[in-house]
Amino acid sequence: MIFTDKNFQEEVLKSPIPVLVEFWASWCPPCKMVEPIIDRLEKEYMGRMKIGKMNVDINPVTAKRYNVKGLPTFIIFINGKIVYRGVAAKTENELRRVIEEILASQDEEVRV
């Protein structure tokens, strides 16, 4: 999914499920390398976590609001709040671990 300054409020902040946003830019090789992993995870976690990308050059407002200073930056939002923030390229395993932890902690909250 592609996030923009325009759809950020609706698709990210108001999303009923957690959202992982990868902030990226075309001049950032690590961002390019993470792209296929993001696409794969997006499909795999569909319905449980919304996963997508946001180009910081085309959408400078959001990038600035969240103080994105290094790329790629991964931020996970739940109900508009930041629950995870990571900077620099990550392996698929690392991203998976983060996503699973967030989803597991959510499940716990539901049980409580």
């Binding site: 001049w27 950032c28 090789p29 690590p30 993470v34 296929p36 050059d57 085309i58 990550k90």
Partner: protein, 519 residues
């Protein structure tokens, strides 16, 4: 509804888009706020070709834009302005005709250095080529192509700047470098000359692009030799590690994703290409230039449809030890009755690509302009072969033409691994719809067909003495000793030996199968 590999690219990729408004130049903490003339938060552009659109968001797909017209290579920008640096060379001339025939506005620059260097060796192009004036006339006469040529040395920045301002290229294909490893190993003067010409020529060009045509794509020619051939067999990715590559140290791990892979050049010429790689990469980072850095395999062959239209349109073909590439030299040796020269073991594995396929790759890259700041490395090979396999294939095809071809092993004048693994990843070109079409045998057949014509055989005889390598990496200048002479049947790949492994996905989604339609 046909789909094309570049349907989903947008104005963000298009050289016709002039950035206006709130594009925050490197938004991530290093803002240079270069394009902030507009009020409000939106990124807007103007289109140089469609001024009636006014200011708009850069979101129009190529599939929706009438300026990007369908062709068998994907959508191509109508009358796209291309500048070929080194247009008089083996590849430059071939590409000029190819792009001209596709409707590009072709301009070109050359200082005829290649002609001079080949003369210095005492050789010449064995396929006769005319002066640039005559070549341009022939291009007009036979293919109705107009070529805007200027004699310029790329190191002359003032003249090059003037020409860039005149042409305003949307793509620059940079072939204006000395393409020879042995030439750079002759002596200090030659090494220094090669590095100066290649490295400083490209560095100056980058500054000119920043100031005059920052939205143009630079297609920069590198070589697979930049990577070397690591004995570990580590795959040669396209310039950068994938995200799943990790560095393990002291029980901790880091992603290497997006970090440049190691380079291990194999001559001072190859070092110049590695230096270029860093210079171009930095320029893209600093100034939002856009570039494809093409790690080209060893090119061979004589054919494209345009070159074959008339003898006056042919491209140069060198067979001397400095400027002849290995397959081209093998065919020349076969015709001249010189046993094909394998260096050392002859087990070296290299990536190769036929001239015609390489030209298609260029068109594919041109059809897919990078985004602002995007620097992408492309491994351009269509097959990996052991040199002894190439020799055997040339010998076998030569036999079809009545040549009795022997193969010899000689001392290796180079410093290189002679027995090694090679694994290459080449995904970027297939993603842009490229499929290798020309097999090794097919192109070798075309080469024998052309080179065994009488007028060319006479020229081959004249340059016969320039074929055997006498330029040693050690600095020696002498004939190498012959280690053995074999008939093609005696040359075999050993069981369990190394084999080249090529990762080239040929089932990408966005491929419109033009060839199916042609049937």
């Amino acid at each position: 509804m046909n789909t094309y590999h570049n349907d989903r690219l947008t104005c963000w990729n298009c050289p016709s888009a002039i950035l206006r408004g709130n594009v925050d130049f490197r938004a991530c903490g290093q803002s240079m706020r270069r394009f902030t003339s507009m009020e409000g938060g939106d990124v807007v552009i103007e289109c140089e070709r469609r001024p009636e659109l006014g200011h708009f968001e850069p979101t129009i797909n190529f599939s929706e834009c009438p300026q990007w017209k369908p062709t068998k290579y994907g959508r191509l920008l109508d009358n796209m302005r291309v500048l070929i640096l080194g247009i008089d060379g083996y590849l430059g001339w071939t590409l000029a005709l190819k792009l001209g025939a596709l409707g590009f506005e072709v301009s070109g620059v050359d200082n005829f250095l290649r002609r001079r260097m080949v003369r210095e060796k005492g050789s010449m192009s064995v396929v006769p080529i005319a002066s640039m004036e005559e070549r341009i006339k022939a291009a007009k006469k036979y293919l109705d192509i107009d070529i805007n040529f200027r004699k310029i040395d790329v190191l002359n920045r003032d003249k090059l700047a003037d020409f860039l301002k005149e042409v305003k290229p949307e793509v620059i294909v940079h072939y204006a470098e000395v393409p020879s490893a042995p030439y750079s190993m002759v002596d200090a003067d030659h090494a220094i000359f090669v590095q100066k010409n290649n490295v400083l020529g490209t560095l100056g060009l980058l500054f000119l692009m920043r100031d005059i045509v920052p939205e143009a794509t630079l297609i920069k020619l590198g070589t697979m030799g930049e990577y070397g051939a690591p004995l570990t067999g580590r795959p040669l990715f396209e310039g950068f590690f994938p995200a799943d590559a990790v560095l393990l140290w002291n029980g901790r791990e880091w992603s290497l994703g997006g970090e440049m892979t190691p380079r291990d050049p194999v001559s001072f010429y190859h070092v110049s290409k590695v230096q270029d790689t860093f210079n171009v990469y930095e320029a893209c980072k600093y100034w939002w230039l856009r570039s494809y850095d093409v790690m080209q395999g060893v090119i061979y062959g004589v054919h494209t449809d345009e070159l074959a239209t008339d003898d006056k349109l042919r491209t140069r073909f060198d067979v001397d030890e400095w400027f002849g590439t290995v397959v081209n030299r093998f065919v020349a040796q076969a015709i001249l009755g010189i046993p094909l020269t394998l260096y050392g073991e002859g087990e070296q594995i290299r990536g190769f690509i036929a001239l015609e396929d390489a030209m298609e790759c260029m068109v594919r890259l041109i059809s897919s302009p990078p985004e602002p700041g995007q620097y992408t490395v492309v491994n351009q090979v269509s097959g990996l072969y052991k040199l002894k396999t190439i020799a055997k294939t040339v010998a076998e095809v030569g036999a079809e033409f009545g040549f009795d071809v022997k193969i010899q092993r000689i001392e290796n004048p180079r410093v290189e691994s002679e027995v090694h693994p090679l694994e290459v990843v080449a995904e970027n070109l297939p993603e842009r719809g490229f499929r290798p079409r020309v097999s090794l045998e097919r192109e070798i057949r075309r080469m024998f067909d052309l080179l065994s014509r009488k007028h060319i055989v006479r020229r081959l005889e004249k340059v016969k003495d320039t074929i055997i390598p006498r330029t040693w990496w050690s600095g020696d200048k002498r004939d190498p000793k012959v280690l053995g002479v074999y008939s093609p049947d005696e040359v075999r790949e050993e069981e369990g030996g190394f084999r080249g492994i090529l990762h080239m996905p040929l089932d990408s989604v966005f491929v419109y199968r033009w060839e199916d339609e042609e049937k």
